[in-house]
Amino acid sequence: MKRKHRRLAILLAAGLGLGSAAALTLFAFRDNLVFFVTPSDLASRGRAGETLRLGGLVAAGSVEHTTIAGDPAVRFRVTDGRTAVNVSYVGVLPDLFREGQGVVTLGTLAPDGSFTASEVLAKHDETYMPKEVVEALKKSGHWQPGSGPPPPAATWNTLSAAKSGG
């Protein structure tokens, strides 16, 4: 075996060992590596009084704006499609907050299963579309943004009606 072949073999063996170690570590810590838990996680594992981040979609028709002592307040439901959690929040919402949008809220779980948030972040999804395309999808009945994620990308990413539709 030539020296450079031996060095290559050592390198590959070290890479394999390091890769396996990293994979096992990441797998063992998978519950701690998530940025937020889903409403289903909360229903199965959540403990009252725990401070955590809850993430999901803002349920359609669930947003109620009020004011508490002059501050803007809002109540809404966060859903992952299976379970939903009631969230209350006092403060200013990010611009992207709307029904059907992904949000991540930091707060505490109350004994009755509701969630009191001290921070609300909007989560943008991976779709990028101009206003005209959204209008065209709404008009044709393919998508109502409040109802959830947009339809498959291939149905709209080259939509030629976009220019005339707006």
Binding site: K4, A14, R30, F36, V37, Y128, P130, V134, W156
Partner: protein, 259 residues
Amino acid sequence: MLRAVDVFSPIAPPRGARGLHRFANPGRFLRLAGALLPWVSAIGLILTVIGLYGGLFVAPADWQQGDAVRIMYVHVPAAWLASAGYMALALASAASLVWRHPLADLAAAEIAPVGAGFTAICLITGSLWGKPMWGAFWVWDARLTSVLVLFFLYLGHIALTRAFDTPERGYRAGAILALVGVINLPIIKFSVDWWNTLHQPASISLTGAPKMYIGMLWPLLFMALGASLIFAALVLARLSAAVMERRVRALLAARAEGA
């Protein structure tokens, strides 16, 4: 121990030119880099200007993000190149450790600062986008954290390669650091799929339809190609300068010995 034959010296005997090692010859590299550099920089700049104009003035605004979406045209190419640059750094490090490729050490040392610069652009533009869109400049989710780790790996490589009195030792230590850090690349790429993150998953994949309107997509692809060529041009220019610096040092050392 210094190497017995300094291949960077113009008075060193020519090495056998077989296989890939033909490109290890610094003189051949200098001629190739000199011929390529004007073309790579010019085409890179033209593509970037087209992409920037398309992204800032032609592409439509996003229905939710408004004009803030235009940050993407800088952020996404910078992010891609931050990872791709690290891959290049790791390949140069492997070539240095396994094949003792004479250019690989210098290539690794010259790639790292360019990669760190692109990573910094990615982090800064992402932060500027995050505040108006998410509501926070920074969160410790898996994607943002792993890219910050990438930035620190670049900085660590830069510091480590320059921390030794004998450059060869620095190159060796840097190469090992760079190869250990490769484990971070799949973590960056798949962080948004493996774990819940605030950062959105990839819009553009090799397998599926792009989740981006075509009028917004084409400037991004121009920017990505242009930024890649600019990255390559920066590395070529830095590497040529480094090779010439080594030659000058070797000549001065030879002259000092002769005097």
